[in-house]
């Protein structure tokens, strides 16, 4: 199925419509709606014009809070990912549709069915970004509540994904009658149920959907702990990583390669796409000027204080945003879960002490310091189209990454300069596709067909996956 007519080491681009946090500028008139369908349509169609491999939606299953109240400073309100992607499938042809979906607050049969449905509706373009965020605070929105120990999140996720794979693999189009005069709609026997017995629940489910044009949804993973990396090495096709700097990306690639080989898969089975941000212009100085402006837009005085408050655990309303960082220690030991997975569980005292020191050394006030922390560690590319293209060419040559997942800082026009200017520069350098390789996401990411197609249900399978779920 996969075509191999493009040279090696092509970079692929994805676009991440973030819809939360302070990264997306909303205070300027060019900023459009964060939730209207037209914003999504515009962004994905621009991405498809730029031959992006994937359009990516995040997920957070509880509205963010700050110091015990609804967080009011950042964009919020993103729509349900799969429903939105099913609609976007109708207005696009080739781009992949990636839904971030949580294994802790979903049922495996239900999730497998909806992802299979999206995969068929889109002609084989669906992907699942598997996340494992778990806490009682989010659990309060769901039937099972916060039932999972943090230590079990990946054994649970792995049993969940293994069950989903068995559901996806349970039958295919070859099992459907070729024409209306056959004895039944199924050419042979009707599919058998997938059974699973585990710690948290038992399942018996007969799939209502066959394999898709790309066999089953592509699996992304985002989670950076050792367990998360091993999980990706065993189960995922693509890692949405947090390591965008070239040196860090090389180290991460080596680590993932070792884990992938250890899991018995070829190194090329797992692609890596770090999250990234691009601030581009025709010249270096214009790009620098834009960079400053973007940071000002992202982080105003209120956002700067709120950023610190997450780690100090109390209101800092009395502080001058143009003054120094607080000269006292946080009253909490770890940052809370309520501002999203990217901020939770930081060791507050150590972290804030080091911040205080570095702000003092560099002579930065609160506003300047927090603006400096904005953007993506190593994954922020600021510069002229040509120079950033040169930088990306070095990434391509290094083999450290397979592409980038870009978070636009402006919605819905934030991809325009990337598609209009950066993509052609990359194509000229021979490191970016000039056309879609195929119709499915698997083909367009250069992935092989999955080889771990689950065997028919046996008792062994049941015991193998008995650990969790």
């Amino acid at each position: 199925m996969s075509t191999r007519n493009q040279p090696k080491n092509l970079l692929r681009l994805g676009v991440f419509f973030q819809g939360v946090n302070s990264g997306t500028v909303w205070k300027t008139p060019e900023a459009g709606s964060q939730t209207d369908f037209e914003s999504f349509r515009r962004l994905i169609q621009t991405a498809e014009r730029g031959i992006f491999s994937a359009f990516f939606l995040g997920e957070g299953l509880r509205l963010r809070e700050h110091l015990g109240q609804i967080h009011d400073l950042d964009v919020a309100g993103r729509p349900d990912a799969q429903t939105l992607l099913a609609a976007l499938a109708a207005v696009t042809n080739r781009i992949g549709l990636v839904a971030t979906q949580n294994t802790t607050y979903n049922d495996p049969a239900d999730m497998a069915h909806r992802l299979a449905s999206l995969d068929l509706i889109s002609g084989g373009r669906a992907a699942w970004n598997i996340v494992t965020t778990d806490n009682a605070w989010t659990g309060a929105n769901f039937r099972r509540g916060g039932y999972l120990d943090h230590a079990d999140r990946y054994t649970h996720a792995e049993a969940f994904v293994a069950t989903a794979k068995r559901i996806w693999d349970s039958w295919g189009r070859e099992d459907i009658a070729a024409n209306g005069s056959q004895s039944a709609w199924f050419a042979g026997n009707a599919p058998k149920p997938v059974e699973h017995t585990g710690k948290h629940y038992n399942i018996s489910y007969t799939s209502r959907l066959p394999r898709s044009a790309q066999i089953r949804p592509v699996l992304f993973q985002a989670g950076d702990s050792a367990e998360g990396r091993d999980f990706a090495a065993r189960q995922a096709d693509v890692i949405f990583s947090a390591h965008g700097g070239l040196e860090a990306a090389k180290v991460f690639r080596a680590d993932i390669t070792a884990r992938t080989l250890k899991a018995g898969r070829p190194a090329s089975a797992v692609k890596i796409m770090p999250g990234s941000e691009f601030i581009l212009a025709a010249t270096e100085s214009e790009a620098e000027e834009k960079h400053r402006w973007v940071r000002e837009q992202q982080i105003g005085p209120q956002q700067a204080l709120a950023y610190l408050e997450q780690f100090w655990g109390e209101s800092l309303a009395g502080l001058d945003p143009e003054g120094p960082l607080p000269d006292f220690d946080p009253k909490i030991s770890e940052s809370d879960v309520t501002r999203g997975s990217g901020f939770q569980g930081a060791k507050a005292v150590e972290l804030t002490r080091s911040w205080r020191e570095s702000a003092k050394d560099q002579g930065l006030n609160i506003l300047e310091f927090v603006r400096g922390k904005s953007g993506r560690v190593g994954g922020s590319f600021v510069g002229s189209y040509a120079r950033v293209a040169d930088t990306l060419e070095r990434y391509a040559e290094s083999g450290a990454v397979d592409g980038f997942n870009i978070t636009p800082w402006l919605i819905p026009s934030g991809l325009d300069d990337i598609v209009n200017h950066l993509v052609p520069e990359l194509q000229e350098r021979g490191v970016y596709p000039t056309h879609y390789a195929g119709d499915t996401l698997r083909e367009n990411l250069g992935l092989e067909d999955p080889t771990d197609v689950a065997p028919a249900v046996t008792d062994e399978d049941n015991t193998r996956y008995e650990v969790a779920v």
Binding site: I70, Y105, I121, N202, S204, P210, G300
Partner: protein, 357 residues
């Protein structure tokens, strides 16, 4: 209380699979796997929209269909795919309320409303069977408990939909606030089997509250009731006997003469493959007789949900011969491009339970 000569009825076309007859997939000149082809579904719904149907409904179930095609795409996703392709027709998926997460269901429907510019509806289903429960590792829910459970799921959904007031997004540059948090509320729903803290992760749906359709006895808090009976006379009687205060929709299978072939012969041919067991009243005959029957029926109900034996053939005949006659007789509500489903149904703007008024 209503008469057929006021323009007040709505037509809902059921578009699942190849049609209501379990053998429909055999005779519709499509390959058997075309029920999985979103483009084919879109074609049928675009035809329904241009014919002047007010809405389409999309059947679903947690279990593989027991007869006919063994595959079915998720109904909310099918509706979502149709959202950007259509402009006036309501999109009403069937969705189970018993084994879903109410929080997910409410945001899925809310997203459907967003991608269809306010044309989402919801037909609440509730099986509660052991086989459905086994798919998600949960117990059966007895028939007696279903109405209470549906009421809980509906109340949780409605509270989540209202949890962001209209205008909660303020984008106030001076104070740096994107949201006015005084306009965002916790759902704080506690039911018998589940609780939901809320708020929703999405803003209030375009329609405020998405119109909900349900059959007895699940209709306690629905906007519209689905009325069924085993035969045509029974349906007329049930329609007259029903005192539901909201919109009353009659459920009806139908088969029309097509391409010179009488409806009864068509049913016989289909039944030769597989018998048609349906709990619904069935009309079999000519377009003229069907028009007459519907004009009488529409004197007693606010609309019909039409289940064509064969989707393509029967919807086409209906669109060509019955629908124009009903419109000419003044029986149908007008359709306006850009209307929300609430507007098409004639429902008032939905008040927000959390808004200070």
């Amino acid at each position: 209380m209503t008469t057929a000569h006021q323009p007040n009825a709505i037509l809902v076309l059921e578009v699942d699979g190849a049609g209501a007859h379990p053998a429909a997939w055999r005779l519709d000149n499509q390959t058997p796997d075309s029920v999985l082809d979103a483009q084919q579904i879109a074609k049928a719904v675009l035809a329904a929209e241009s014919a002047g149907f007010h809405a389409v409904s999309i059947e679903d179930s947690r279990l593989a269909p027991g007869s006919g095609p063994g595959a079915r795409l998720d109904a909310i996703q099918r509706a979502a795919f149709l959202g950007p392709l259509t402009h006036s027709i309501g999109l009403i998926p069937v969705a189970d309320s018993i084994y879903t997460e109410p929080f997910h269901l409410s945001t899925q429907l809310s997203a459907l409303d967003g991608v269809s510019a306010g044309r989402a509806g919801w037909i609440v289903s509730a099986g509660g069977t052991a086989a459905e429960g086994a798919a998600v590792g949960r117990e059966a829910v007895t028939a007696g408990e279903l109405p209470g459970e549906v009421a809980d799921v509906l109340e949780a959904s409605r509270r989540l939909w209202d949890s962001w007031e209209d205008g909660a997004v303020i984008k106030d540059v001076a104070t740096g606030r994107y949201l006015d948090r005084s306009k965002v509320h916790y759902a704080d729903f506690v039911g018998k089997r589940f609780s939901v803290k809320g708020s929703s992760i999405s803003p209030r749906p375009i329609q405020g509250q998405i119109p909900v359709f349900a059959a007895e006895p699940l209709d306690a808090d629905s906007d519209a009731i689905l009325i069924g009976a085993p035969d045509l006379d029974g349906l007329l009687a049930a329609a007259q006997g029903n005192s539901f205060p909201g919109i009353r929709i009659a459920e009806l299978d139908f088969v029309l003469d097509h391409a010179g072939e009488p409806a009864a012969d068509r049913v016989e041919a289909l039944d030769g493959w597989e018998p048609w067991h349906s709990p619904r009243a069935r009309f079999t005959g000519t377009a003229t007789d069907f028009t007459d029957y519907l004009l009488e029926l529409l004197g007693h109900v606010g609309g019909v949900r039409l289940h064509p034996a064969e989707l393509r053939k029967d919807a086409q005949e209906f669109a060509a011969l019955v629908l124009p006659a009903l419109r000419l007789a003044g029986a149908l509500k007008p359709i306006r491009t850009g209307n929300t489903l609430r507007e098409t149904l004639g429902l008032p703007a939905a008040r927000n339970r959390f808004a200070a008024s």
